[in-house]
């Protein structure tokens, strides 16, 4: 993981005057009262605004919450809970249904997937379109070593590390999700605004729900794990004959040294991207058209994958639509609209993002794009081409 440590040092390095602490406590008192009187945390699917304090936390949780405007340190208990959740996603055997809902620019989309995971083994997912009966073929995870299982609401060991680096993680008490008692953990920004909220199963610590908020406190994504069953029941319910071979022989994640070596070989490997995204993983595979490099960037909540491949975009791109982002002509995949691609200077860039639109646009803006040639450059290139056309020996 390659994450800057400036956030951590800044959080721990600032002193506080008694006057400031008194003022902060006075300001936080109404928040504590509201917290004590509020109802239990809900699990609805409609977008809603975040509140400064989580609803329904226990009194012990309130004692761990810092004032909304003065959060500086993450809660040890909260970090421990998230670590347990990441381990539970690997070590537990479970099955259930994950409902992923995303909102962007006033419109939303929902994705429903059935998930089976065997302890220490692979994960099987079968996705249906918006919960309809049009089920697709199951997908067998290529995660042979169980280090990055899918279908755990984005709670993985690397992302938790980034979450701790970029946000203040606090324990927010108990709640309920999928009719199960859950421990609630929140991630807050430097200004104290709510960035994400996690519901972790009280008994197993498996993630049951996650909500992500934008800077204006609106929900931009909600992942819910429902109908969860544990232990050997999950193993017995894996669909027979369904799982397919894992696609794409992606190599194991590249080390920092390997990524730096790629940089010297002409690949673009920025250490960070706009939105506070840090490079935390990279992988490589070989296709029929050449080597593909995958670079993963995240702040613990938003994740952007940048795929690079030497070459040029095909003249005709089926399933892609031409659009303009930040003044640059790119192509967006239909219908999910979350995959963007373009080519520049002999390299094809494809960006897949689970991030706010503003972050995605900023990422596209900082990556290379071809600028239209000047008049003389275009004329020169044209004369060369004309000469090559009439050259009988060319």
């Amino acid at each position: 993981m390659f994450s800057p440590s400036s956030f951590v040092s800044r959080r721990h390095g600032e002193g506080r005057s008694p006057l400031l602490l008194t003022a902060a406590l006075v300001m936080a008192l109404p928040g504590f009262l509201a917290t004590a009187c509020s109802s239990q945390l809900g699990t609805g699917t409609a977008p809603r605004e975040a509140t400064a304090t989580a609803g329904g936390p226990a009194a012990s949780a309130a004692a761990e919450q810092a004032p909304a405007t003065g959060r500086r340190t993450s809660s040890t208990r909260a970090l421990h809970l998230l670590s347990q959740a990441a381990q539970a996603a690997i070590s537990m055997s479970y099955q259930g249904q994950e409902v992923v809902t995303r909102w962007s620019d006033g419109s939303g989309s929902v994705l429903v997937s059935d998930i089976w995971h065997v302890s220490g083994g692979q994960t099987v997912t079968q996705t249906t379109a918006a919960g309809s009966s049009l089920s697709s073929q199951p997908f067998l995870s290529s995660d042979d070593d169980s280090q990055a299982p899918e279908g755990v609401l984005g709670v993985t060991v690397p992302l938790i590390g980034l979450l701790e680096t970029h946000y203040t993680v606090v324990y927010a008490g108990t709640g309920s999700a999928d009719s199960r008692t859950a421990q609630v953990v929140e991630a807050r920004r430097e200004d104290g605004s709510l960035a994400a909220r996690f519901w972790l199963d009280d008994a197993t610590k498996l993630p049951l729900e996650r909500e992500v908020f934008d800077s204006t406190s609106h929900v931009i994504s909600q992942d819910v794990f429902i109908r969860v069953r544990f232990s050997t029941q999950a193993q017995a319910a894996v669909p027979v004959g369904g799982p397919s071979d894992p696609p794409g022989p992606w190599a194991d994640p590249l080390s920092h040294a390997q990524l730096l070596a790629l940089h010297t070989q002409g690949w673009l490997v920025p250490a960070g991207l706009p939105g506070g995204l840090s490079l935390f993983t990279g992988a490589r595979t070989t296709t029929t058209t050449g080597t593909v490099l995958d670079l993963g960037y995240s702040d613990g909540l938003s994740v952007v994958s940048v795929f690079e491949q030497r070459g040029h975009l095909a003249a005709k791109l089926d399933g892609w639509q031409r659009t303009i982002v930040g003044g640059q002509v790119i192509y967006v995949a239909e219908p999910d609209q979350r995959s963007l691609t373009w080519s520049s200077r002999g390299m094809v860039y494809t960006v897949m993002a689970d991030a706010p639109v503003q972050t995605v646009n900023a990422v596209v803006g900082v990556l290379p794009h071809d600028t239209p040639p000047g008049f003389w450059q275009r004329m020169s290139r044209g004369f060369v081409r004309l000469a090559s056309w009439v050259n009988p020996f060319g």
Partner: protein
């Protein structure tokens, strides 16, 4: 009765002397045929005279027009224009023809340059034709890798990756009301 014959044209041209002319006039008075021929000859002579008197005026006008289109076209050089106007004879006409040829040569050259420039500008568009494969990004493969990175469920849009040919679970994102 014998007719005037060749003497008729001599009469019309005024080439007969007194006795000959009197006898010819006496014959015309009594001969309808010779009178008609004499009238036709006079009309023909008048038309030819008209043509002969109009030709020099048109030739002069042609020379003046050629002189106006001297070397340099719309902005003739002082030297060339002076020579043509001062010497409207054979040498002036030759110079005007040479200037016309230069003008056409210049027009041809300009047309060639403009045409080549337009063709080069058109051919120079469309980006660099650098070597390398033409790629259609494999969305489904990227989606799976991205899902592993995010710790989320892998899926790919069905429009890009038909489920029948893909090992990846295909899904679509349905719009919410």
């Amino acid at each position: 009765m014998s007719h005037l014959g060749d003497r008729l044209s001599a009469l019309v041209d005024g080439e007969l002397d007194g006795a000959e002319r009197d006898r010819a006039h006496a014959h015309l008075a009594s001969c309808e045929q010779c009178r008609t021929e004499a009238a036709e000859l006079r009309i023909l002579k008048q038309k030819l005279s008209t043509l002969m008197t109009g030709a020099p005026a048109e030739a002069a006008m042609t020379k003046r027009l050629i002189a106006m289109t001297g070397p340099g076209g719309p902005m003739p050089s002082r030297r060339g224009a002076t020579r043509v106007s001062r010497r409207p004879g054979t040498r002036g006409l030759r110079g005007a023809r040479s200037a016309g040829r230069r003008r056409y040569l210049m027009l041809g050259t300009v047309s060639l340059v403009v045409g080549l420039g337009a063709a080069a500008f058109s051919a120079g568009g469309g980006g660099e034709a650098a070597p390398g494969p033409r790629i259609t990004p494999p969305v489904e493969m990227y989606s799976v890798e991205h899902a592993i990175t995010t710790g989320q469920v892998p899926f790919a849009p069905p429009a890009v990756s038909p489920a029948a040919s893909s090992p990846v679970a295909s899904a679509s994102a349905a719009s919410l009301p």
